[in-house]
Subunit: 436 residues, 2 copies
């Protein structure tokens, strides 16, 4: 059994957190490969080491005095080393980094040193071998990730290493410079390593006990999602839920490796399991709720449109011509609504409307802005009759006006359109109806 | 004030019905122009005069003996004349018709004689002038209706006639033959006359007290719709409700003339008013429910489809290429469902699927047949919050599995997809929830 465990910045922000992380890793010997982030914030007003590195590098290349800034960074690491009581000096690494700053090794190089140094400390602390990500994670000339080459290199390198720490966030280019992942950072490295070694589980340790059923900025103390499928995750993420970046999911998903989101500060919590498919029913019929504001509806009316072959295609073509994707296209009889993102649509609305007029001669077109979309997502909704009823009962009782409803035969989610002002109220109503 | 009143076949099936019709017309002196149908069935197993005429003509042109058949037709009319105690002989007309049959005046000519003769009798009975529709209703060479010419002719002719009977169903061609309307029959003539004389009201007298909220074959004694807008009527009719044919609505709708559906056998009933727009709320929030079986759903799944510009267009294009119109296209996130008529789709499904595969590379496509669509229609639904809740509550309590939901921002109707076997149950549930 092999587990790849990734730890986020807050899990490694100081010596105290390092101790928790070490306890977690050493409690389960299958936790053989560890991917650390750079030290995150220790308290709300603190600065992440990565941001300190960016600032320091910026000063260095503008010819400003940067040594004092760099001393602060060194002190973050030295403090951790001291408190952990490690017999470790990073002076050689600090010198190399300073030289890199002076030699314009790049912003990515600067930022990546946070993970690099943290990896060395963690490896030493838990007695694992340190493997520099620059030697096993590769990018192409064009900056894209080279999956095949990385996969091979990680596998070859780790084949004979029982236990290793591989810092997240970065790799190297064919030009032998350092490059970081643009988004998703260490989550991606962890996923890549897990896929390469064909891990049984990819553990992603953070400072929350899993993904939440709803946005905690809107719903107070929302419940944690126990088990979620990749598909459900994608759906919630598309509708604005903060979850793992798609690029961090793809490598393990391809290999059928589940992901477990865990909380470093409450390791006994089961967290959230992300799986390809499961027979486990979610606790609340719905798996999650997410939503976004900022949509516009284009309402088109034309007598007999349903029997006009090509009508829908002609309408959508006008959006496409203007480089717009559409979110949904619910329709009645003789009416069709195209839901688009307001910010993208605004500057092109007149071109789109003129195009629709010219090509489909509608009886009327009307634009309604200020809509919010809510997605109620759940694999159990298909077999649970009455889900729509419970949703609309909740909305009716909360006096929310439902502007649009869309549910296809997949029955994995229901999309609801409401006025933006009723968005929070609607989310709360649906959450309470299913989760209490 | 001018009312144009059209009477259906059952309203003029025998002398007793003629007396009711006369009472109705003479009770309101604004009922100046009357459009009669041919005598309909007097009892369930009876034969409509129009069908007798078709059979008689068929016999005549195949050289068979048809005089006995024609005698039966004459006896239908002579019986009415006798029972009404009229001093009227139609012998001259009968002779002309017989000559027309022998001279191959056409199926349309034959059929039209039912209205023609009924018109003469009614005019005599109520003391109105008889105006042959052949002299005022015109078709073009290509068989289409000549609205402009008819409009002018009706107006010119009726300008100096205070009260007239104009038989429905037929007109004449530039070739001086008789042609009938293909569908909608006398309803169309009534509408045309009402529009031409700029009537204040077009009364359409039948044997029911108006349009029903739901199909009486499924719902026992459904309530009558009090007031319905043209748009609502169109929607219910599209979804299978038996109402006036579109061609019968168009002429009066264009002139803003309301239609009143009335019951000859219960003239005190208010019937159904069909109007362009009204501030009158329907009694039950919903105006009507209608539905049809025989739909298939094509479910398409693809990760990130929402952000792919042109995805929807490419899918719909494949249906268009195969000459298929689609009914609805509800979508979730990463999923899209295209609802089509099963009968049209079946023979082309593999071409459509292959086209979608080639052009959009979906993750999966699945076809689900045997769906029924239900439209819940109502202008009051927009302002009544909680309509969706009541619909889905009713469906949930009746254990109906909702396969699809579609409601655009127009909010004038909600479309629901269910399994065909649950169609009747679903209709009954929704009806009971709103109407009791």
């Amino acid at each position: 059994m092999i587990k790849v465990t990734k730890f986020g910045g807050s899990s490694l922000a100081n010596a105290e957190q390092f101790k928790k992380v070490a306890d977690i890793i050493l409690a389960d010997e299958s936790r053989r490969y560890v991917v650390p982030s750079a030290p995150g914030k220790r308290f709300a007003e603190d600065v992440k080491v990565t941001d300190m590195l960016y600032a320091c590098y910026k000063a260095a290349i503008s010819g400003q005095e940067f040594e004092k800034k760099f001393d602060e960074i060194k002190e973050r690491y030295n403090g951790i080393i001291r408190e952990l009581g490690l017999d470790l000096s990073l002076d050689k690494e600090y010198d190399a980094i300073e030289a890199g700053f002076k030699g314009r090794a790049g912003r990515d190089y600067a930022a990546s040193r946070g993970e690099f140094l943290n990896g060395i400390i963690l490896a030493k602390y838990i007695g694992y071998e340190f493997v520099d990500a620059a030697e096993v994670v590769f990018f192409n000339e064009d900056g894209s990730f080279n999956a095949a080459m990385t996969n091979q290199a990680v596998r070859d390198r780790l084949e004979n290493i029982e236990r290793a720490v591989i810092p997240g966030f970065y790799g190297s280019t064919p030009n032998d410079t350092i490059k970081t992942f643009s988004r998703g950072g260490s989550d991606i490295t962890g996923s890549i390593v897990a896929a390469a070694v064909k891990a049984d589980l990819y553990e992603n340790w953070t400072d929350v006990s899993g993904f939440l059923v709803a946005d905690p900025r809107i719903i107070k103390n929302p419940a944690v999602i126990n088990t979620i499928t990749y598909k459900e995750l994608r759906e919630l993420s598309y509708m604005g839920a903060t979850v793992l970046h798609e690029d961090a999911i793809f490598p393990v998903r391809k290999e059928g490796i589940p992901i477990n989101i865990k909380n470093t500060n409450a390791p006994e919590d089961p967290g959230t399991m992300i799986v390809e498919s499961t027979s486990k029913k979610p606790e609340h019929i719905i798996t999650g709720i997410a939503g976004k504001k900022g949509f516009s509806a284009v309402n088109i009316e034309k007598d007999m449109m349903n029997s006009e072959i090509g009508f829908g295609r002609k309408v959508l073509e006008q959006f496409e011509k203007n480089g717009l994707s559409f979110e949904h296209m619910p329709s009645g009889i003789d009416t069709m609504t195209v839901i688009v993102q307001q910010s993208e649509f605004e500057s092109k609305e007149q071109e789109v409307l003129a195009g629709i007029h010219r090509n489909t001669s509608p009886d009327s077109i009307e634009i309604e802005a200020g809509l919010a979309l809510i997605a109620v997502v759940g694999r159990a909704m298909k077999s649970a009759k009455g889900t729509a009823f419970r949703i609309f009962e909740a909305l009716a009782k909360s006096d929310v006006n439902v502007k649009m409803i869309d549910q296809g035969s997949s029955e994995l989610n229901i999309i609801i359109g409401v006025h933006e002002e009723e968005f929070e109220k609607a989310l709360q109503a649906i959450y309470s109806a299913f989760v209490k």
